[in-house]
């Protein structure tokens, strides 16, 4: 039992801590801590030092926090402990990020790093042909979904008149409902919605803007191509993992055991999340960590677009028609909050996140 609690309290915080710790390596080298710097400054000792300080602080303070959370978890056996640790981790990472960012930014301004450089944007016109959608990789997610539906339909006639819809995190039933198609298949609807979401992400991601480096445009275009070829596959596999978690949760409703541990149910999703982290470290943002052929040097540098990035995290540019732009500190894309379509989509998404759980309830 202690072992189970340890696992339950450790998995999520450790995964979060690991993600925060590797993030400076996943981000593009030319945007350390969300500050755009010319390629020639990438190996500047000042930036290397900020990276080191960030890793030390996040590593030491974060580990201390996770261990403290673990001890607290074993002592009080409160299910909220991992959640509190996750929130506190944000409090450890944020100051480290803000500090590193401020130091790099002030050095960039003081020494005028962009003085006299040719700020250029490059586009790869061959992006007109996109990698084909990896249908084979979609099979696991679809199979899990189909299997869940089949099992549900087969079991439905034999289900008891009252279904236990929810267990609290220690595995004790805390919500029940009368048997109906809605109460029995609510989770399957969520599963189908999630599958659609991962398909849509995998389909659209290759269309989003790449962040090509004009100093080595061919190499970075090839990195980006490999990145957007692999990303849909990774997303679809993660989707299969998430579907498996929901299938297990649905199976619990249909088999109505007295109590069941939480860990085996969330395990597939956590394994999927760990897989995402491995992908992030191997590929880097936009494939920036992939090996490429050498390219003859050019005198062009990336455009200094810091003024559009609030805090290095939030992109607001009215003149930019892009809805999705590559993230600076992290993997993938973020919204352009200067674009009405992006703002509208964001509002709809938030509304869906709030409304759907209420509707399923």
């Amino acid at each position: 039992m202690i072992g189970m609690i340890v696992l339950q309290d450790l998995l999520v915080p450790v995964l979060l801590l690991a993600s925060a710790w590797v993030m400076p390596s996943v981000a593009k080298p030319t945007v350390p801590f969300g500050v755009r710097v010319p390629a020639a400054r990438v190996d500047d000792p000042l930036i290397a030092e900020q990276r080191r300080i960030y890793r030390w602080w996040v590593g030491v303070a974060g580990t201390a926090l996770v261990v403290a959370g673990l001890i607290a978890g074993v002592l009080v056996q409160q299910v909220l402990v991992p959640v509190l640790v996750a929130v506190a981790l944000l409090g450890v990472v944020t100051p480290a990020y803000v500090r590193a960012r401020a130091v790099i930014r002030s050095a960039k301004q003081r020494e005028d790093w962009y003085q006299g450089l040719r700020q250029t944007v490059s586009a790869d016109t061959s992006r007109v042909t996109r990698p084909p959608f990896p249908w084979l990789w979609a099979v696991p997610a679809l199979l899990v979904l189909a299997a869940t539906v089949v099992v549900g339909v087969v079991r439905y006639p034999d289900l008891p008149a009252t279904l236990t819809l929810h267990y609290n995190a220690s595995g004790v039933p805390d919500r029940t409902a009368a048997k109906s198609v809605g109460s029995a298949f609510g989770l399957v609807v969520v599963q189908a919605g999630l599958t659609v979401l991962f398909f849509a992400l995998g389909y659209t991601a290759p269309r989003f803007r790449p962040d090509l480096d004009p100093a080595r445009p061919r190499a970075s275009a090839s990195q980006h191509r490999r990145f957007v070829t692999a990303l849909p596959r990774v997303l679809l596999v993660f989707g299969a993992c998430a579907n498996l978690t929901i299938a297990l949760a649905a199976g619990r409703i249909w088999s109505a055991p007295a109590a069941i541990p939480v860990v085996p149910i969330i395990l597939p999703t956590l394994v999927g999340a760990a897989g995402l982290l491995v992908f992030a470290v191997r590929y880097g943002q936009g494939g920036s960590r992939l090996e490429t052929a050498e390219e003859p040097p050019r005198d062009a540098v990336e455009r200094d677009d810091d003024r559009f990035w609030k805090g290095g995290l939030l992109y607001v540019n009215r003149a930019d028609h892009a809805v999705f732009v590559p993230k600076r500190f992290g993997l993938g894309w973020t919204l352009n909050f200067g674009n009405p379509v992006a703002i509208g989509g964001f509002v709809v998404l938030i509304a869906a996140v709030v409304v759907v759980p209420l509707a399923v309830r």
Partner: protein
């Protein structure tokens, strides 16, 4: 093809897009039948207004280098247009006049022309 736009340059962006496409065609990087991204896609990739891309594409279309259809988008398609030679000669005259006005040597000017033409040929080969 990699299309560069220098944002610190004095040359207007639409002109730069136009010039890079023409150069890529001359060097054989773009051949007849090659597709270019839609105006919207290229504008998003470059982070610029799509009217700017439209202006460049429209100029290329009028010059008989680009075919723009509703169905297949922008495709490189070279057709000879009447009056191109006269127009080009007028612009070349200005360029050569600039060289002379700035005191460049005649042989030097011819040498530059030679090297540039050879460079296009080399990339093509």
């Amino acid at each position: 093809m990699i299309l560069d736009v220098d944002l610190t340059s004095e040359v207007p962006i639409y002109q730069q897009i136009h010039d890079r496409v023409v150069e890529a065609i001359a060097a054989g990087e773009l051949a007849d039948g090659d597709a270019l991204p839609s105006t919207r896609q290229l504008a998003v990739d470059l982070g610029i207004n799509f009217h700017t891309v439209n202006k460049a594409y429209d100029q290329l279309r009028r010059e008989g280098l680009l075919l723009i259809t509703r169905k297949s988008g922008a495709v490189v398609q070279r057709v000879s247009t009447a009056g191109f030679a006269a127009d080009w000669q007028a612009r070349l005259k200005t360029l050569l006049a600039e060289a002379i006005a700035h005191g460049l040597d005649e042989r030097e000017v011819l040498g530059h022309c030679e090297t540039t033409l050879r460079a296009f040929e080399e990339v093509r080969a």
